[in-house]
Amino acid sequence: MYQISREKMPELLAAVAKEMDLFLPVQNNGITNFGFWTEDAKVDLDTLKTVKSPKDAFFPQSEVLYSCYQKANKTSIEPAALKDAPFAIFGVRPCDVRAFDVLDRVFLSEPADVYYAARREHGIVVSLACHEPEDSCFCKTFGIDAAEPQADVAMWQVADGYAWEAKTEKGEKLTELVKEYLTEQDLAKEVEAEKEAIRTLIDKMPNSNLSLEGWGVGKTKERFDDPKWKELSDACLGCGTCTFSCPTCQCYDIKDFNTGNGVQRYRCWDSCMYSDFTMMAAGNNRTTQMQRFRQRFMHKLVYFPDNNDGMYSCVGCGRCVEKCPQSLNIVKVIKRMGGTK
């Protein structure tokens, strides 16, 4: 295992950024979000939760799929270039790392999304264990261990720095690249103590041990017509904040942008919370906010597990819990309709 001190960290990040794009939590106007490293970026590895999840790294909020040009009545299509160089995404929390696995289930299942697959192939994920979990965290409910990041490189906060452990071949390569900033050290005891501390804290969080009884594979019939959907969704504004801050929400739209010299077909995040999401010329199969609200949670807690060996598409990051302007959230839904009373 290696150690990197807090003082050396900026040098390590600069060294990575010299070789490849580096995407990491950066503070801007007091708000921390993932962004690209620049020399004067205010890197912030202490804030537990970025406002938006790091899913942009693999599934950008907006990206061009292809461009079309028309010349003398002939149409030509130019696909957007696929990511073909390594890049690093640094300081990802264990819940957000699991979210990448959830996105993989969607985008890498046949037929694989080539844009996502190329980014996934070239992305190196450096994860950071959660030194100070917060009340809104409930990753443990979904079997995620905030003390044991599953990424290419795992980091733990230890005295005056971080422990660094490469966990995959990609992680080994990145470690080679920054070796001059790392010192080899036996940190087994310190890391074990940090893990213990994290697990103790997580266990104290109010929503760490939610019962998922009543949810999961095969629960469609039992849950769908539950009268509680109505009262739970009554206050929903349909603003979509939950879907945009969610690390696993992957619904998208494909739209046109007329550049003046051609048309770009681009995809952008969309939200099942919006009234026109399912609207067709022939009608709309979800006309009420109750139906749209139900769709979001049924998808995460029943339909997705049905199709993915029981895997839930919620990772308990708690962003929706913090951000919903109406204080509606998946925790309330799980508790109100599931086993936790």
Binding site: Y66, N73, P111, V114, T220, D256, V263, N285
Partner: protein, 284 residues
């Protein structure tokens, strides 16, 4: 960490269209036209199965999924019967022969013509533009006539002017061996001496024997009542196939729009056996 199997071989980009060219446009009804599309070099766009769909896109206007109405047995081209009812379809209706369009697909599953339907007596029931996907199956069956039993086609629309593919129905289907065509329109109309009445009622009146396999396509409300009628005649839901239609963007089960229960209509559908639909939440 990456558990994709990105190998060195080039992967097909399922979201990337190919250029197609419109080689024929037929006006079927006041609001339906049938478009014939091939590659610019004149060859067929792709191979498909009856019931499958494809995305048609006019850059700058929009993109939508349409069922392929031509039969796979046609080796030259694909056809799409399209009703004018929105931004893209209005634009398509103003396009001309020789115009280019973007096409990707085919998407979705198909009617089980090579398995379950083989050797069966078939009952096709369509309403309005719902004939489009069934026409692909009907022509497939007629081109492989020995593999299937008798064919009954019950087809209805609002008026005689709204019957799609009337020429082919009268000149080809009605004259084919062991095929019975039953046409109906909703209301009496001058110049129409055929049956008058809604499709579901007509199906019951025809008192079809229950040993057939039924394929239904039309407006959701028609499908619902036809299914009820068939059940009254003694049909089991396992004998009846239909199609679902929901909003779609990607066509490959990822964009989330056509998700219903554990199914994505674009990928797991559009063809469903009626007992399979019963397993889905009632949201279609």
């Amino acid at each position: 960490m990456c558990n994709c199997s990105c190998g060195s071989e080039e992967k097909k980009n399922a979201l990337l269209p190919q250029v197609g060219i419109i080689t024929d446009i037929r006006r079927e009804t006041p609001d339906v036209k049938t478009f014939r599309i091939v590659r610019p070099d004149g060859t067929k766009l792709f191979e498909h199965m009856p019931g499958q769909c494809a995305m048609l896109c006019v850059p700058g206007v929009g993109e939508a999924l349409f069922s392929i109405t031509s039969s796979p047995t046609n080796k030259e081209y694909q056809e799409f019967s399209i009703k004018e009812c929105g931004t893209l379809t209005n634009y398509l209706h103003n396009m001309s022969v020789g115009d280019e369009i973007l096409v990707r697909g085919p998407y979705g599953n198909h009617f089980p013509v090579e398995t379950v339907l083989k050797g069966q007596d078939l009952l096709f029931i369509a309403g309005g533009i719902g004939l489009a996907p069934l026409r692909s199956v009907i022509n497939y069956v007629l081109d492989n006539r020995d593999n299937y039993g008798t064919v009954d086609i019950v087809y209805g629309s609002r008026s005689k002017d709204d019957l799609v593919q009337l020429k082919e129905i009268q000149e080809v289907w009605a004259k084919a061996k062991d095929v019975n065509v039953h046409l109906t329109i909703d209301r009496e109309q001058e110049g129409w001496d055929g049956h008058v009445g809604f499709v579901p009622n007509y199906v019951k009146e025809l008192n079809m024997s229950v040993d057939k396999t039924a394929l239904i396509c039309g407006p959701p409300i028609m499908i619902k009542f036809v299914l009820q009628g068939l059940q009254e005649l003694g049909y089991e839901k396992t004998q009846v196939y239909t199609t679902l239609e929901l909003r779609m963007k990607c066509g490959i089960g990822k964009c989330g729009r056509c998700n219903i229960g554990d199914k994505y209509v674009c990928k797991d559908g559009p063809v469903f056996r009626c007992d399979e639909i019963d397993e889905l939440p009632n949201e279609y």
